[in-house]
Structure formats: C-alpha cells, structure tokens
C-alpha cells in the first residue's frame, strides 16, 4: 500500500465510522425520553444541586463518577425519603461513622436531590445494577425463617442494618442488639423511633400492626 492510499483510507474510513456514529446518536436521542420518567422542575433543580455540590466527586450515578462512595442510581428505591433527607442535611448526625461531610444542604435542596434520585431510579438502565447471584445475599443458609425474620426481610431492614456481616451500614449493627435493648424499648422504638431516640432517622413501623412488631421484637431478642 502506498502512503497516499494509507492516508486516504484513514481519512475516508474515519469519516465513514463517524457518520455511522452520528446516525446512531440521532436515533438514540429520539429514544431516550421514552426510557425515563418525565423531568419535572423539581428533578431538574435536583440535578443542578447535584452539580453544585459536586456529588460526582465521591459517588457514581449510572455507574459513572468516583468510587469513594456508593452508587446512587437506585438509592431512592431502597431508602425512605425521610431518612435520605436527614442524612443529606447532616450525615454524621444520622450515622456517627459516616464519611460523607456536611455541606450545608438546605431542606429544599435535599427535597430536590431526592426527586432527582427518584428520577434516576426509574430510568431503564438495561438491568443495571444487576441483582446479586450468590446465596449469601439473601442472608439465609437454607434455614426455615421465623415470623420475625420474614418481617425483617420483607420490610427491607437489611438495607440499613447489618446482622452477622450482611446488610447495610447506615443504621447500627444489630448482631448483638438483643443484649443491648429490652422488649419494651424495642417495641416502642418500632412504633415511633423518634419518641425513644430523638431525631432518629429510622422510619416508624406502627402501620404493620402489633403482631408483626411483636414478631420483630422476638427476633431482635434472639440476637445476642
């Protein structure tokens, strides 16, 4: 091949692939809005707040960004709003071990951020992040679940709490909670956490009814 032929191949070939890329881009742009919920003013305000505090400097969103802090694509799906709001405004007040700093996020900014995170959680991401495929994730080694354990699983307590190394880190580790708290405390705390622990960021579970709360309390008391 002569130099001139190589050069022409380079130029024409590159243009060719760039044109294909442009066509695909055009097609993609037409499809994106159908794959995501409507963007309200609140969602957009949340996105602007996201940029203002440079959240991407620690977190990823859709898996892109920095790897210092958890991905937030689906956070709004797994964590209740009340907790998120309190955490965003003052992380260490919710979780003394939190590494996220307090930025001075206002209540309104926190609402906007949550609306933004709710939006991202509903975008069709082709199934990302994938569901874990190994058994440990379920937290059960093939054993029969007690009534309390079933409530614990169904309510997603594991998103915030850890038992025997499995579960989230935003609330206290419950592996030994049975030796720390008694029946009355636990029951009252489930009904309305804020009554027992001022400014608690844990949601209340009164709506589950007495039976479920008793089961949960029984389960907690076995954790020693």
């Amino acid at each position: 091949m002569s130099n001139k032929a190589a050069r022409n191949l380079f130029i024409i070939g590159s243009l060719f692939f760039f044109v294909i890329f442009l066509v695909l881009t055009f097609d993609t742009m037409g499809k994106l809005d159908k794959r995501a919920p409507v963007i309200t003013e609140e969602v957009n305000a949340g996105k602007m707040t996201w940029h203002k505090y440079d959240c991407i400097g620690c977190h990823t969103i859709f898996g892109n960004g920095s790897y210092f802090a958890p991905d937030l694509t689906k956070t709004a799906e797994n964590k209740p709003k009340g907790y998120l709001k309190q955490f965003l405004m003052d992380p260490k007040a919710v979780n003394a071990k939190a590494a996220m700093p307090k930025f001075g996020i206002s209540a309104q900014e926190a609402d906007h951020l949550i609306a933004f995170l709710e939006w991202t959680s509903k975008v069709d991401t082709n199934g990302w992040p994938p569901k874990p495929i190994l058994a440990a994730a379920a937290g059960v080694g093939g054993k029969e679940l007690s009534a309390g354990q079933r409530v614990y699983q169904a309510q997603g307590c594991t998103n915030c709490h850890m038992i025997n190394g499995i579960g989230g880190t935003t609330g206290p580790d419950l592996t030994k909670v049975g030796s720390r708290r008694d029946r009355k405390w636990l029951h009252e705390h489930f009904e309305e956490p804020q009554k027992v622990v001022p400014n608690s960021a844990m949601p209340g579970y009164k709506h589950l009814g007495d039976q479920a709360l008793n089961d949960l309390t029984e389960y907690m008391l076995t954790l020693k």
Binding site: G57, F68, K131, A137
Partner: protein, 463 residues
C-alpha cells in the same frame, strides 16, 4: 543535538508548567489515597482533592501536547513559528486560567456554598467529572486553544510543507478541540448529560489523543533512530486509522447502562474489543524500528518511547479489554477495576508519551550533545514499578469489590472499610514510591544539560 529554529525553545515554557503540575497531581493523589483510609484527614474533602488530581493530570498532559506541538510544527515546516509573542501570550493566558480554576476549587472546598449558581451557572465547579472547570474557564480555554491552533496552522502555511506527521498531529488536535464542545452545554436529563460527557472523555482518550500519540510516536522514532519517514508515516496512517475505525463506535462501551438503548451493547462490545489492535501495532512498530536502527542518538528518548508504546498497549489495551464486554462490564462497571485501568492507561499512553517527548526534544532545546542518562532511567523504574504495583493492588480491590458487593450483595461501605482496607494501605505506600520517581524526574528535568558530563563518558559516540 541542536534545534533548527529559535522559536522551538518555547516548548520549554510548557514543559516546565507541565512538570510542576505533574508533581501537584501526584501529591494530591497520595492525599486522596489516604482519604480512602481516613476520610477526614485533610481540610479539603475527597471530591475536591480528586478533582485537583484528575484535572491537574488532564491539564498537564494538554499543556505538554501544546509545547511538543510547537516544537514539532516548526521542525516539520522548516521555519520559525508564525508568532512567538502569540505563543508566549497563549502560554501565560493558560497558566493564569488554570491557576484561577484551582483557586476556585479550593475556595469551594472550604465553603461549598460559594458554588451556588449565578444565573443558573455554577461559578467555581461544574460538578462533572474531568470537566469540572466552570463555564467561564471553558471559554478561556477554548480561546487559548484556538490561538494555539491558529499559530500552528499559520506556521505550516508559511512554507506549505505538509508532512504526514504534522498533518496527523494537527488533525488530532483539531479533533481534540472539537470534542471539547459537547461538554459545554447543560441538559436537564442526566442520561443525556452522560451521553455527551462521554463524547468528550472517550473520544479524547480513545480518539483524538491516540491520534496525537500515533503522530508523535512516528516523530520520536524518526528522531531517535533516524528511521525512514516514508515507512514510519505509512504505519502511522494505518495505526491511527484503526484507532478511529474501532474507537469511534467503541464509545458504545460507555452506553450499556446509562439509560441508552440496548443495541449499544452490541455496537460497544464489538468495536471496543477491537480497540487494542492498533495499540499492539504501535508496539510492533516501535520494536521493528528500534531493531533496524543503526544510529541511535538519544537513548533515554528511545527508551521512553518504546516504554510508552508497551504500556499504552498494556494499560489501555489489556486492562481495557478485560472489562469491555457487556457480560463482564455488567459486574465490574464503576468498581475499582475501572480505577486500575484508568491509572495504567493514562500512565502508559499519555504520561509516558509526554515524558518521552521531553527527553527527545529537551537536549536539543538546551543545546547539549550528550547528557548523563542515569536519572532518566532511575526515575523511569521508580515510577513504572510503583505504578504497576498500584494497579495490581487496585485490580485486587476491584476483584474483591466485584465479588463481594456485586455478586454476593454485601454492602458497599462494608466492603470498602473492612475487606479492602489493606489494598488502600498498599496503594498509599506504592504512591509514595511513585512520588519518589516523579521527584527524580523533576530534578532531572531542571538539571538536564546544565551540569558537566561525568569524566568517564558512557559508550563512545557511534557514527
């Protein structure tokens, strides 16, 4: 070794600024690494430190490219630069802009509210990875780059001596400038935001920058070994051609999970898997040319050039292909595997490229015939061995994270603070090794050609 034209000396201004920013980049990198172990260790939070780390990196590489280009264009066109004062002005304008941006980051780090939007625009930090620089700085950077390109093109037009190397180099630079534009507008949708953002980031490092690398590789091989231009330029066209044939549609490997249609899994998977081929060709090119070389005039220059070709392939090609298929990327996306790849790729492809160009051009700029190469080799081994260990460490952390968090479903924070703790400690230690290497390089940069040669000169000059 001497320069042909006085204005080629301007390259040294750019090199000096680049080398100092390199030092800053690595210093803050170590702080970032320590913050993985102790988050509150410094007045500035991790996000600010990280922005400084990656922005310093990108900027010193770009500044290095500019200096290098002024040198090459003048050399290839056989003439002085069109306007030396303009080049100097453009240099100082860049220095001032970058300094202001850095001060802005620090200010925001100390008081986050300072970044509150003015007329809907964040004044200190755009809050988008790699292109954190605020809008006003973007415009100043664009002006600076336009002045730079104008100067280069006017220089070429003076003699109209279009060579393949400078054609591809300038083509790559124009492509680079154009690909900055998709990062300059706001979109309400985070999906579209990331879509255009990857045009900048991916089409830079896997498009225009690799074009520049291909052209400079040919230039450096020609200068250090005296190899024939025709052969080098032919392979250069083939290499950069394959870079774009695979790399443009390879952008699809970032469009798997951000809310984009499913066909990108096919497009991105297939084309990005082919991206290592041109990089392998560059390694072969470097070895073939070196083997046939009869007249090596600048051994450290050639040494760094070959090392650049090898680590470009290993860091970008090998560490890229391991996680580029959608079946794998589904699990590793956004984990420390990405960090490992990012480090080795940037180090091999561009850090070593700019350092090679410095070693290829600096002796002639300083007008020295021979210089003591021992520090050049010593810093290479300190930097490279440390970087390889940083990357192996972080690849380990990435594998643990992928397994425990993604496959087993353990909590992100739990994996980070317990299972991966030792990897963070090791990274910080190897980071200090890297800093030592950079320190030796910086000393060498400032002293090269300014001290007498050792009494026993190394190999006698071969004719």
């Amino acid at each position: 070794m001497t320069i042909k034209y006085e204005s080629q000396k301007i390259a040294q201004h750019f090199y000096t600024f680049a080398v100092l920013l390199f030092l800053v980049q690595v210093l803050v990198g170590i702080i970032a690494a320590i913050q993985f172990i102790k988050p509150d260790v410094f007045i500035l939070n991790f996000n600010i430190i990280r922005s400084l780390h990656i922005n310093a990196l990108v900027v010193w590489l770009l500044v290095g490219f500019m200096g290098v280009t002024y040198y090459v264009i003048s050399d290839e066109s056989d003439t002085e630069l069109w306007s030396l004062p303009l080049a100097k002005f453009q240099f100082w304008a860049t220095v001032v802009t970058i300094t202001l941006v850095v001060l802005g980051y620090i200010w925001m780090g100390i008081s986050p509210q300072a970044n509150s939007p003015i007329n809907g625009i964040n004044p200190l930090n755009e809050g988008r990875e790699y292109i954190e620089a605020p809008r006003w700085a973007d415009y100043l950077i664009v002006v600076s780059v336009l002045l730079f390109l104008l100067n280069c093109f006017m220089t070429v037009l003076k003699t109209k001596k279009w060579t393949g190397i400078q054609g591809v180099l300038l083509g790559g630079l124009v492509f680079l400038a154009l690909m900055y534009l998709p990062g300059l507008f706001y979109t309400k949708s985070m999906v579209k935001d990331q879509f255009w953002w990857w045009w900048v980031v991916h089409l830079w490092v896997e498009g225009s920058w690799e074009i520049i690398a291909g052209a400079l590789l040919a230039f450096m091989l020609m200068k250090t070994t005296g190899a024939k231009r025709e052969v080098l330029e032919k392979w250069m066209y083939i290499e950069v051609g394959l870079v774009l044939f695979t790399g443009i549609l390879g952008t699809g490997h970032h469009y798997y999970w951000i809310g984009t249609p499913k066909y990108w899994l096919w497009v991105g998977g297939i084309f990005s898997s082919l991206e290592p081929i041109p990089l392998l060709l560059m390694v072969w090119d470097a070895f073939r040319t070196t083997r046939e070389a009869r007249n090596v005039t600048n051994r450290p220059g050639l040494f760094y050039t070959v090392a650049h070709a090898i680590f470009n392939f290993v860091g970008a090609g090998l560490w890229g292909i391991i996680h580029t298929l959608p079946q794998v990327n589904k699990w590793t996306h956004g984990t420390q595997v990405t960090t490992a790849h990012g480090h080795l790729a940037f180090y091999g492809a561009y850090v070593l490229l700019v350092i090679s160009m410095i070693y290829v051009t600096l002796p002639s700029i300083r007008g020295v015939k021979e210089y003591n190469p021992s520090r050049a080799y010593l810093s290479f081994w300190w930097m490279t061995i440390s970087m390889v260990f940083i990357v192996l460490t972080i690849t380990g952390a990435g594998m643990v994270q992928t397994y425990m968090e993604r496959l087993m479903g353990l909590d992100y924070v739990a994996v980070k603070t317990t299972y991966n703790l030792w990897f963070w400690i090791l990274r910080a230690i190897f980071g200090v090794g890297f800093l030592i290497g950079v320190g030796i390089f910086v000393v060498d940069f400032f002293k090269l050609g300014k001290e007498p040669m050792p009494v026993v000169s190394p190999a006698p000059e071969k004719a």
